[in-house]
Symmetry: C2
Subunit: 665 residues, 2 copies
């Protein structure tokens, strides 16, 4: 028989005992708190958990919140929902790293009140209970909780109650305690027995643009309007009114650094370049400098500063590319040979995807003895360098081929300088890698949208993105095209297809983007491939940005719609509804105040008119199947009255391949 | 511009960098490893996880396993499944607390082989690659991994390969490396770059009876066959052949301790007892002793020891009740007033459920200053006391009204003495509390089965129990009745209903039990309540255990079926199939070797014959819809040949309300 405890056993016992209240299944959380949940400023975070104690005691629970840079925890009371689930809402009112946790306790006064009410209703003598209440009030006074005013009120209550106890009227005594005021006072001051604290969880709050943005991508060197003149930052500045008029708020430029000469690629990705080929901007670095230099033909740092300032005046962020690969001429190769891999014959290891070898590109090796951590610091400092120049958005090239811990570290470091910096992960790879990049800190992620054309796959993909656990940390950015992706769909869809893909991207996701040329319905491919012929990646192009057949009015329409309708700002509010035709995608977004919703019908077939029966989601407004909703067709301005759940619509791609209704009760 | 790192930043960087490989979504795990996953000896544990690195390197992964009492981690190679998911099976071959974790690494030799094969196939010159391979072999030799024999083999390989490199035949050089032997050797010895270790997870391995047992509950004092003679342990011993013949392996007795006299309850729960009323065995403790004493009329400790020994000879565990409440006469109240709650007038606080008060019962207060930890130690020692007497199974009364940390601590302490002790939680309460008790260590749990009569609710409940996350830690014990629960269903079902509930309990769950009287179809209720009239809880009863109409043959049948068919041992292998009649529950269990399965059709309506069309699950054997299966009707012994997916059956409750088929291809 054991009758004593070793001190280790005793400690274990007391540590366990300290957690009497069960706090389970706290949501949201990412990988048990290993990574942060993400929200933007102004977006609420609803925190819920299973909270319960043993036995039948009344319990209380609160959400504790520690805002960025603070060491003070604020308390938000939690409310009971059902089935031992509790919830509370956190108001994300500033950018940065928050922490939250949950506390639960046994509420002695609440339990007393609950039990004594029942006894009183059953007509039992509650004299002893009333005496026990006095002890509870004493404990509250000693607990030290609440304000000085609370303490004063509690003292007054005790005095009053003490007098009443002498008078002997149990009904009167009880009613002093069973009052709104006393309950409120005891909530502030009552002892919290067996207070249990859950584990801390991180929350990252971004500026709004991290979750809601419209990107316009352009190659600055193609902005002169003349294929024989290299475009400059001033040419880009000249285009800002145009980009602003279309309604974009992020202007994104591929790398602006000096371009390598060794093994330079020629037009259409030719292995050898002619003397006047400008090379790919992704072959970064030459004797003119590396990642912290500007390609001289684009302009100077002063010119760049003017571009940043002008963009800001036009309501735009400038986003730069952060592409870590180097051309063989990059200064780092001479200055830091310890960052690169070398072969037994003394040559540098080129990038490769066996059997292909890319001789215009070399990659750094993040885990070489000489590179960890000096290379990491240098790369962080490259980002900080451009941040200092006013760049607060970085589109990161192929982040999935660089170590996840590197990104986690770099992004955290940059955020210490400016929590508003946004990183977009350009990773087209396996789903779990894309999600991991979002977990380690990327604010936005490229997506599979470009390859999702059919109704079932769009519904499945968007349901995953908006309903599964990734919604708490991954924010897709739906690009309709990129310099690397000229989708097969657009190669044969004609102008209606461009309008369709624009409508989908702009209304299905919070973040979306186009690569310039899209608005002109540019589609000429390298035959049989999803690549552009005469790609700007390898040559200077010139465009007439206002040429006939452009879809600028559609772009303006959707960007304005997004800005003016609050229901567009909430990515997960997306819901698909029934339209009895597989060629029409039908979905809606309810306004935060539930008074109205946007309904979208997008024709997926760019070649033929389609129609059919659809369900008007009357139930979302709590209405019966035969009720009526008012609607405005936002495309035509027409006012409608829609009666009953079953409705019909017909869409002609040559008129307008999409319908947007604003419906309200 | 920052160009240096503080030492804190540097440490953070290096700590992050140490986890280059992502290891996510490790399954199974309970609350992120806070609680142990459960298995029994001989049952495999399949561990899976998402494991991936950045880039395109070949990676490797292994499951590390630390058996009970060992400090040596054993390695089990993981195999790639799909979509970055890997898995490995752990062989649970001994009782106790195991730990497991996962490691992942970059496989330099695997990557080299993968890339070089492609280059060779493309006809490229691989001279440099072959030289790089020599460096890899050198690194393997220096890694120190593998056995002494491996090192010798590696040295031989290096020597051979070095000679070959001089000969200059690239094909011959490569084929030495691209061989089964070299790959196997490098798996054992190759360097594991950027090895990443996941977090440790606990696994509790029980003896088989924790997951697979048939309980028979009896009141020892009612075993004399004479209401005027208090039954003894010897009377219980005399019943063992009978209980064994029915096929039970756990004999469970409600509390055997001295019964309190103060406020003793009379027959049928009367508030006052007559002089010869024996009282409720749950009013534990009198001047004859408390939780470590035996009610004198049952016998002595020597008699008890003989019972334990006899039960063991009959293949049975004796399970005792662990009910922590005390009668007002319990010795602890005098010896340890600091363990109880006292009211302002100096009286002890009785158990209550306001407005009801139970004056025959007082509860201890686990968190009183004087009780923590002395009370906890005393209660642990009560369990250890009975363990020393040979009791290895405890049915715990109302554990959900005692603190969860107390159970977590007590169960862990008892397991340090004997990992084979089994605790059954008698908690009928809210779902999350029941699951929490299973998480903190209870090996078995009472369930809602008693109140699940209809097809849809049985299917829904069993699907939750076998398919949701609780399957990894909660093992239901399906009692058909208890001294406290005389189900409404059985009060009107007649004998067929008893056979039906037996069939369901014995075949739906791994653990099940009956409270004696069930085999005699006893059902007389307190009118309008789910309680037994003239309950044994308050009086001595006598039964003819072989009276006409008993269902002993059914019980024998099911207990033998459970023992002889391995498919019964695996709780989660349960699958429901389609029977076109809501009054027939139809389900199956596949044998581990997939060669045969048991199919069960249980009539839920005890009053009328029912039948209909059902689907023969040919697909489970990989067969077409028109294929044939052989079957044996295990109830009748009849051999059948069943052709085609659509079949019919008709069940008459007055003949036999269940069908059990053993089907095989």
């Amino acid at each position: 028989m054991k009758k004593s405890l070793s001190s280790a056993t005793r400690e274990k016992l007391l540590a366990l005992a300290a957690n009497r209240i069960a706090i389970e299944a706290v949501a949201p959380q990412v990988d048990g708190g290993r990574f942060a949940v993400k929200r933007v400023v102004g977006e609420p975070l609803m925190v819920s958990a299973d909270i319960f104690g043993d036995g039948h005691e009344v319990i209380g629970a609160a959400l504790l919140v520690c805002p960025p840079g603070s060491s003070v925890w604020q308390e938000v009371p939690m409310r009971f929902v059902a089935n031992d689930r509790w919830e509370a809402e956190l108001d994300c009112n500033s950018e940065g790293l928050w922490h939250y946790t949950i506390i639960g306790w046994r509420d002695a006064f609440g339990t007393w009140l609950h039990d004594t009410r029942k006894k009183k209703q059953a007509g039992l003598n509650i004299t002893l209970e009333l005496e026990e209440a006095r002890i509870l009030l004493d404990r509250a006074l000693k607990s030290g909780r609440g304000t000085r005013d609370d303490a004063r009120a509690l003292k007054d209550l005790l005095k009053q109650y003490g007098k009443l106890l002498k008078s002997g009227d149990a009904g009167e005594q009880f009613s002093v305690l069973d009052s709104f005021n006393t309950q409120a006072l005891l909530e502030e001051t009552g002892p919290r027995d067996e207070l249990t604290v859950s584990h801390e969880l991180p929350l990252w709050v971004d500026r709004k643009r991290a979750a809601f943005s419209a990107w316009y991508e352009l190659m600055p060197r193609s902005q002169s309007g003349d294929v024989n003149r290299h475009g400059t930052f001033d040419d880009v500045i000249a285009r800002l009114p145009d980009v602003q008029e279309m309604g974009f708020d992020v202007l994104y430029m591929p790398p602006i650094h000096p371009i390598g000469k060794a093994h330079r690629k020629g037009r259409n990705n030719a292995l050898t370049a002619t003397a006047d080929d400008p090379g790919s901007p992704y072959a970064i670095g030459s004797d003119e400098g590396g990642h912290d230099a500007i390609h001289p033909e684009l302009g100077s740092f002063d010119d760049f500063a003017r571009l940043i300032a002008a963009a800001r005046q036009h309501g735009m962020d400038v986003a730069l590319d952060f592409a870590i690969q180097c051309s063989p001429d990059h200064p780092w190769i001479r200055q830091h040979p310890e960052w690169f891999d070398w072969r037994p014959d003394g040559t540098i290891k080129y990038a490769e995807n066996p059997p292909k070898k890319y001789q215009d590109i070399v990659n750094v090796d993040f885990y070489r003895e000489g590179a960890l951590p000096s290379l990491w610091i240098e790369l962080r400092d490259v980002v900080l360098f451009w941040l200092e120049k006013g760049v607060r958005i970085f589109r990161v090239d192929n982040p999935h081929t660089k170590p996840f811990p590197f990104w986690e570290w770099l992004i955290a470091e940059v955020r210490q300088v400016d929590p508003g910096v946004i990183f977009l992960a350009e990773a087209f790879t396996r789903p779990k890698l894309m999600k991991r990049l979002a977990k380690v800190g990327f604010n936005q992620s490229y997506s599979y949208f470009t390859w999702r054309d059919e109704k079932w796959e769009l519904e499945a993909y968007l349901t995953e993105l908006t309903q599964e656990e990734c919604v708490d940390y991954m924010r897709p950015n739906f690009f309709v095209n990129t310099p690397d992706i000229n989708p097969f769909y657009l190669q044969t869809s004609g102008r209606p297809g461009f309008r369709i893909r624009l409508a989908l991207a702009a209304t299905l996701a919070g973040n979306y983007g186009i690569y310039s040329g899209f608005e002109l319905c540019e589609y000429e491919p390298v035959p049989g491939r999803e690549e552009y012929l005469n790609s700007e990646k390898y040559e200077i192009r010139a465009f007439d940005w206002f040429q006939a057949g452009n879809i600028r009015p559609d772009i303006r329409f959707f960007n304005e719609l997004r800005q003016t309708h609050e229901s567009s700002w909430d990515f997960p509010n997306l819901k698909f509804y029934h339209f009895g035709n597989d060629n029409i995608l039908y979905y809606g977004r309810m306004a935060p105040d539930k008074s109205s919703m946007l309904l979208f019908m997008v024709l997926l077939d760019p070649h033929a008119a389609q129609g059919g029966q659809y369900e008007l989601p009357l139930w979302e407004f709590g209405l019966a199947d035969d009720a009526m909703l008012n609607a405005t067709n936002l495309v035509t301005g027409q006012k409608l009255q829609l009666q009953g759940k079953q409705q019909h619509w017909w869409i002609n791609p040559d008129e307008c391949p999409y319908v947007v209704l604003n419906v309200f009760a």
